[in-house]
Symmetry: C2
Amino acid sequence: MTAQARGLHARVLDSLGPAITAGEYPPGSVLRTDELAQRFEVSRSVMREVVRVLESMHLVASRRRVGVTVLPAAQWNVYDPQVIRWRLAGADRPRQLRSLTVLRSAVEPVAAGLAARHASAEQCAALTECALGMVATSRGRRLEEYLVHDIAFHRIVLDASGNEMFARLGDVVAEVLAGRTHHDVMFEDPDPAAVTLHVRVAEAVREGDGPRAEALTREIAEGALRELDILAPPPTR
Amino acid sequence: MTAQARGLHARVLDSLGPAITAGEYPPGSVLRTDELAQRFEVSRSVMREVVRVLESMHLVASRRRVGVTVLPAAQWNVYDPQVIRWRLAGADRPRQLRSLTVLRSAVEPVAAGLAARHASAEQCAALTECALGMVATSRGRRLEEYLVHDIAFHRIVLDASGNEMFARLGDVVAEVLAGRTHHDVMFEDPDPAAVTLHVRVAEAVREGDGPRAEALTREIAEGALRELDILAPPPTR
DNA sequence: GTGATGTAAAAGTCTGACTTTTTGAGCACA
DNA sequence: TGTGCTCAAAAAGTCAGACTTTTACATCAC
């Protein structure tokens, strides 16, 4: 799935980045560019470019005479898709998945409400098609096919909201949904109630009923949160 | 406000980045690293690092034998604080401000609801203090002082939500609020209704009443959106 | 103890040579 | 005419080494 030969830069980045987000280098750790270059067997130029990118993600800070300091997680650009991917691949995947699901629960209802007002005819049609696709694949262990429709559905809603900040969360939602299907226990067919809700959201959007689309999407989100509470430890407190 | 002597890399980045987000190089434009290096009078190494960072923001894509291609805005990492700053400083500031305000209207109510459940005693106290500070400075053209309290208030709510994705939006909210006070017409004292709502949100959080905190924050957000509708052209359609 | 001074460590910058990938032109062949 | 192959050039990618600049820290004088 993930390409292998995208150049040295990308390979080193994909090795060092996850190591940092996984906490292998605790905040405050100091690295040296030269040492890293040796460790990864690349030239200083390549390593400098990698450090610059990590710096732009606020994963590290580079200071003269000190070195490259790992920053505390509170400063990381947690909205950077690459950072999200690295963290989802790492150990605190469950916590990450929960954070993102909570974010979804805030954003998607509002996005659906806006979509009801802004969606084009094509988008409405596509949405309905996705919902029907979900219904069709919701039984009989066709999880992969269901997932495709589910992702497409939520992407369309976010796009149709007309808000670019919402639209850009499409990838995040895709990651969360895929994560749920692939990694977490998902032996059962999808919850029939959720499927129905998706159909009704598509309806509401088609009819331009913003408040209803919003309320229904809120129900979907709450369902996802409940599901997460069952599978993963809630806030662990 | 903005530092000047942070090294060549940062200076070139702060010159090229805004130029791209401002649309000076339309999507599909092809730049060459060497040419850019000449134009900005820096070495290729520096320019390469700049390009790598722009690439990590998905503002450009670099391909062999082709050059550095400017990507369409739909692919930009619009959650990157630096990109947000560049865009807010540019021409489509109004649109940007609207997108971010809509995002706030989705996120902050949910964050407030969570804060009511998770806020520590210290956070509750700080929140109340901010609200009182807002009351105290809400009359008599003390906009700057008011702004400080307003920003602190929203930051605390987002932090207290216990969700890192929400917490990281503190800077965005600060930018939006500051933008409203500084750039947009804001001759009047703050809306008294908004001030009262902040006080009541602080109360609700202190009392652990999530639903009320959420509802009240939703009112604040709706007020902000209304205000924006008056000052700036709505969705221009 | 306080403050000036010097030193060395690390990032920052520049240069030039070389490698690798990729595009598109030119050409052969059907 | 069109299809596919070869090849050369263009641009990014990589490397190595020298030099500059900043700055933390130790040392020394007072």
